[in-house]
């Protein structure tokens, strides 16, 4: 039961850090789930996050996997609710109280001010992940390849992550 309440606390907290996208919470998620609570190892967290990129819908559904890993079905359910309820409630209340939020004179300031910070958080999350995922020239080549393809062509990124799996099996599986 301790694990379940810890899951609820951790993911409710992480929820509030997802400014500009789920990846913004990744460095903090690594510290809390891997270093503090030891629900999974860093490579496992990276694997689940990466596989999550192939799942449809909002792109942080990998939190369900972390919840399952730490506390079974109940853990998964509690994690899902904890991760989405706080921001959902906040957005709902703001929408209710403030129908004219879009005309508030500070709103463009907040949006423009948060843009560089949220991109910075995304990049910081990316670097945190790269420390575990980019282990040599081979994995670096895959990452740069995906980056260049996505910058050049309009292609569904889920296919490229899938292609990464195939390249992985071909080049890293024991012969």
């Amino acid at each position: 039961m301790n694990q379940i309440s810890a899951l609820a606390r951790v993911f409710a907290y992480l929820s509030l850090l997802t400014v500009g996208g789920g990846m913004a919470a990744f460095p903090e998620m690594k510290i809390l789930t891997v270093d503090v609570h030891k629900w999974l190892t860093f490579p496992q967290l990276i694997h689940l996050y990466s596989v999550g990129q192939m799942a449809p819908g909002p792109n942080m559904m990998m939190i369900v996997s972390v919840g399952e890993w730490a506390g079974g079905f109940l853990g998964a359910l509690v994690t899902l609710v904890a991760f989405f309820a706080p921001t959902a409630l906040l957005t709902f209340v703001v929408a209710r109280l403030w129908k004219r939020l879009d005309q508030w004179r500070w709103r463009p300031s907040i949006q423009q001010g948060l843009a560089p910070v949220s991109i910075g958080l995304l990049l910081a999350g990316c670097f945190t992940m790269a420390k575990g995922a980019i282990t040599g020239l081979d994995t670096a080549t895959i990452a740069v390849g995906v980056l260049l393809i996505l910058m050049q062509y309009k292609i569904n990124p889920a296919f490229l992550v899938l292609a990464g799996a195939i390249v992985g099996v071909v080049s890293f599986a024991p012969k």
Binding site: M23, G57, P58, M61, V64, A88, V94, D102
Partner: protein, 191 residues
């Protein structure tokens, strides 16, 4: 705003749930274009202008764009119950899939083939996130100060090991004050 497309009572909770469930099954990568296609073009539940206003509110608040949009559109259509139906629908498919992934990973995570595949998947995901950084930077960074705020954020988290909330509040407030309303008005025609 005047929205003649639908009256509130015309949309049932069930319709909201099903439409968002469809978006939850079919959308990959950035969810926003799928939301627009379904909510503006197909269902006419919100018009284009309202969609953009809701999107900019979603981006100004914590939470994923996809789920914040579900809350806002659900609220507009049927209040609190509409919001719950929308966010449940959009989250359910991915949540069920990732639940199954967790169980599969429990059972077969150590298999050498799985490890090899995941090594490739993780590297590809890093490339994907980097491409998102590049795209967002092109779209929403204006001027060298934005690059400075971005760099400060990265350094604070990765080098100085500051917590994300501390960084968010520190650099965030600095950046918001820099874009204060008097200045933002000049730039507001970007939107």
């Amino acid at each position: 705003m005047a929205d003649a497309s639908v009256s509130k009572s015309a949309v049932s909770i069930r319709d909201i749930f099903i439409e968002f469930l469809i978006i939850g099954v079919t959308s990959f990568g950035d969810v926003v274009p799928y939301l627009r296609a379904a909510l503006v073009n197909k269902r006419c539940w919100v018009d284009d202008k309202e969609f953009l206003q809701m999107l900019s509110i979603s981006q100004s608040l914590p939470g994923l764009n996809a789920t914040n949009m579900a809350i806002l559109v659900g609220e507009k259509l049927r209040g609190a119950r509409g919001s719950v139906a929308a966010i449940s629908g959009i989250c359910l498919p991915g949540a069920v899939l990732m639940y199954m992934v967790a169980i599969f990973y429990h059972l077969h995570g150590d298999h050498p083939w799985t490890t090899a595949a995941l090594k490739g998947v993780a590297a590809a995901a890093v490339g994907l996130i980097l491409s998102t950084v590049v795209q967002l930077s092109k779209k929403s960074l204006a001027g060298k100060f934005d690059f400075i705020f971005m760099t400060l954020t990265v350094l604070a988290v990765n080098r100085l090991h500051q917590s994300v909330p501390r960084t968010l509040i520190g650099v965030g407030i600095l950046a918001i004050l820099f874009h204060w309303p008097g200045r933002a008005r000049k730039a507001s025609d970007i939107q």
